[in-house]
Amino acid sequence: MLRYLIPLVIFIVLAVFLAIGLTRDPHELKSVLINKPAPTFRLSQIKAPDQSISNQDMRGKVWLLNVWDSWCIACRDEHPYLIEYAKSGVVPIYGLNYKDRREDALAWLGELGDPYTASAVDLDGRVGIDYGVYGAPETYVVDQSGMIRFKHVGPLMPDVWNGKILPVVQELNRQGAAK
């Protein structure tokens, strides 16, 4: 009996592990920056090139950094939702325009609407490297003290927004109010 049972158990354990593996997206990497200070940047703003924007400016509030560009297809998917999220006023969304042409980026915002409080221009992708960006769109949740608390890779569809981003933001706001 045992000699038939042991291979069966080994097979079931292996099958369960492989099944779990199948449900996971190998492109989704865990960010090493979670609970670390958001890397500092000071970049020009896309709509006001003579003005700069830095992550230091956002100290004291919870904010989102959304990495986007006009050539990324998934960014187009999430864009209408971003506009809705921005309208709800729950949390300010800042953009990091990643390796884009300014005229393309401005045309995109003009055509599809601008959900961003402001967008920083990362022309050569150097700030993207500091944030560990490997594929737009990516979204970071940064807390009041400038720490990255959450990262989502891929479009911010409503299930991600309601299931992951909003709870993190609300928890951070609650913690901030308690202090």
């Binding site: 920056l33 050539w71 992708g125």
Partner: protein, 166 residues
């Protein structure tokens, strides 16, 4: 009759889409400028063979044509020119992208199974094999020949043509 035709059109369409999708991503990508220092290029080649491209995860940073890989190679050139050691550059990259960027995983607590698992399996396999052989051997009883059997064996051997027996 229309079926094979349809599927052929379909696969042709898919092929065309695959061919043109790369061009849809008209990303800002300046020409990659190799360093004028051949020593740096040599170091970059060696180092980037051990690093993973994060956009196309089964290619090294050396092989990958992806935009991010080119950016990272440029960054590595800049850091090498600034006199950073390979170790410092690897630390710079893992602080941003995690250990996943290393093609050769580090030996840490979480990777013990990965590194030593195969040897454990080999030892376990050898143990099972030897136990099995020993068990089989124990099953065969050693039975010395009787005097009669011995004589018959001698006779059989003697009857073989061209063979001298003692």
């Amino acid at each position: 009759m229309t079926r094979p035709n349809n599927s052929r059109t379909c696969s042709l369409l898919i092929l065309l889409i695959c061919l043109f999708v790369p061009f849809v991503n008209a990303q800002v990508q300046e020409e990659e400028v190799p360093s004028d220092d051949p020593a740096i290029e040599q170091r970059l080649t060696n180092l980037s063979k051990e690093l993973r491209c994060l956009q196309c995860q089964n290619q090294t940073l050396a092989d990958s044509p992806a935009g991010l890989a080119a950016d990272l190679r440029r960054e590595i050139r800049i850091q090498m020119k600034a006199g950073k050691s390979d170790q410092e550059i690897i630390a710079f990259l893992t602080q941003r992208y995690g250990d996943f960027i290393l093609y050769k995983p580090r030996v840490t607590f979480t990777t013990y199974l990965l590194w030593f698992g195969p040897f454990v399996l080999l030892l376990a396999g050898l143990y099972v094999l030897f136990r099995y052989i020993k068990q089989r051997r124990d099953l065969i009883p050693e039975k010395p020949l009787t005097a009669d059997e011995h004589r018959r064996a001698q006779e059989l051997l003697a009857s073989l043509p061209g063979k001298e027996t003692t």
